[in-house]
Amino acid sequence: MISLNYYIACAVALYIIGMYCLASKRNMIKLVMGIEILVNAAHLSFVAFSAYRSVGYIDPLGHAIVIMSIGFAGCITALALTIVTYAYKHYKTLDVRKLRRLRW
């Protein structure tokens, strides 16, 4: 059986990839994908912990949370993509640098 540590390392790596994506990417769709990667890092961590709690038995709490959270992530993505669509209608571009009219 693969050690739990690998799963956790993978989840942390995914989290860092997601943050990097949010910090560096300029395409709005890619930013939404970055959010998905972040959320899925947490999901992976939950599922791994729930599988390794005790031998031969999978803790249902972790799974319940992940299923609920997948629903939320779906809602957020849907809303984000709606906003992206409207932004595209306004600016005819998906580049976030082009819509930096907001000051600091």
């Binding site: 989840a11 959320v39 939950f46 709690r53 939320f72 809303l79 409207y86």
Partner: protein, 497 residues
Amino acid sequence: MFTPPLDALLMLMVATPAVGWVAYKKGYRKVPGIYASASLLVAAYFLYGLYKEVEVAENGIVTRAFDIPLGACLEIDFFSVFMAFLYIIIGLFATVYSIKFMERDSGLTEYYTLMLGMIAGMTGIVFAGDFFTLFVFWELMCLTSYALVAFRKQKWEPIEAGFKYLIMSAAGSATILLAMSFLYGMTGTLNFAALADGLTAATSEGWLYITLALVIVGFGVKAAIVPFHTWLPDAHSAAPSPISAMLSGVMVQTGACALVRVLLLVFNSAQPAWQMTLAVFAVFTMFGGNLMALLQDDLKRLLAFSTIANLGYIIFGFATVSHDGLTASLFHITNHAIMKTLLFLCAGAFIRQTKTRDLRKLRGIGKIMPVTGVFFAIGTIAIAAFPPLNGFWSEMMIIAAGVRAEMIIFSTLTLANMALSVVYYFRLIRIIILEEPTKVSKRATKAPVSMLIPLLILAFLCVFIGVYPGPFIGASSKAAEALLNIEAYADAVLGGL
């Protein structure tokens, strides 16, 4: 299912589209707004019933629990009731104000549905007894607020601000989720009471601090702690004014309250570490908010930065982790909610009549709209902490609590910040009230009466709490006691095990 007020809010929220559809068919455009206001009154009535229940309950905690420690649970203590009451009252003012303010917008049914959803989410957050329930309601609050910020989708600004807010806040939520998964991995439960025991029992220090950092960052994004605050000025200025009032008056504070509740209950063993971190962040937040507010020429952006500064004071009060500090912070949350709602709603009235948020164009608007101008002046003087208005008492209490908790340097910095903030509040008063009206201001007409009624009540509350703060400080003190009473909170669900 979940306590009557929350049930009422959720059910009435789900029923709003049906009501709105029927009203739309019949041609009554104001019905959804009136329905939403009535729903909030119903929720307030049920909340009063719940308060009576909490008062007689053992240890002052009412629980709704399913299969502890695995299942979801709600724990309602006096702190929850106190905050929920604030949400519903501020929500009621914003809703009543919206009936007139939003009358020219389309999609009103959706607007009020989202508004009720946001209030239900915030109420759920303070009622939650485990991390999972908190997260569910947290996402409800976040999702509805994203949609509300980007509500006027025909314009570029709400779209842009909404997207920025969504990305930052969703990243914060994902961070909270990751922190939750680590807590779950360390203890096998997400119940607040069980987590507190589990974490002190057996965990490596390293993971505990990593989780602590993730929790502070995750909630900090919502609570607009300074390095993570950049969404706030954009979202507050782009949203419709009643929504700005809700965001700035109560939603941001919900982030701070959820943070402090989690820190107090779960990370009790690491208190010295997070106490100092919070205090340092609080000072950064105050300075960031106040210094940026000095530079603003946009009315709503200025108010948004002043919200950041006030959050700094509130978080500093929480960081003292004493009964005095928490009382002062909770009292300041109440006062700030009232003052900031008043200011944003007045700003909304100015903006509605002039179609601009630019302070240079809004000069002397108080002379053209005298009633709104007077209310705005009362709000500004209150938030600038002048006696005998309400802001003075809570801000002085925060400083005093800091001194008593032996954080004198931080208290001095807080005092310096409060002095600094007076500069831009007086600039606001001078521009809005004292200067000669510009061409744009001269064209404005008086605000409609149904918008003035919430303003009148809020301005009255500013003066009333200032003159007679006793009962409000008493309520805050009781809420702070409930927040600090960790053993009773743990016993309420785990006692039976």
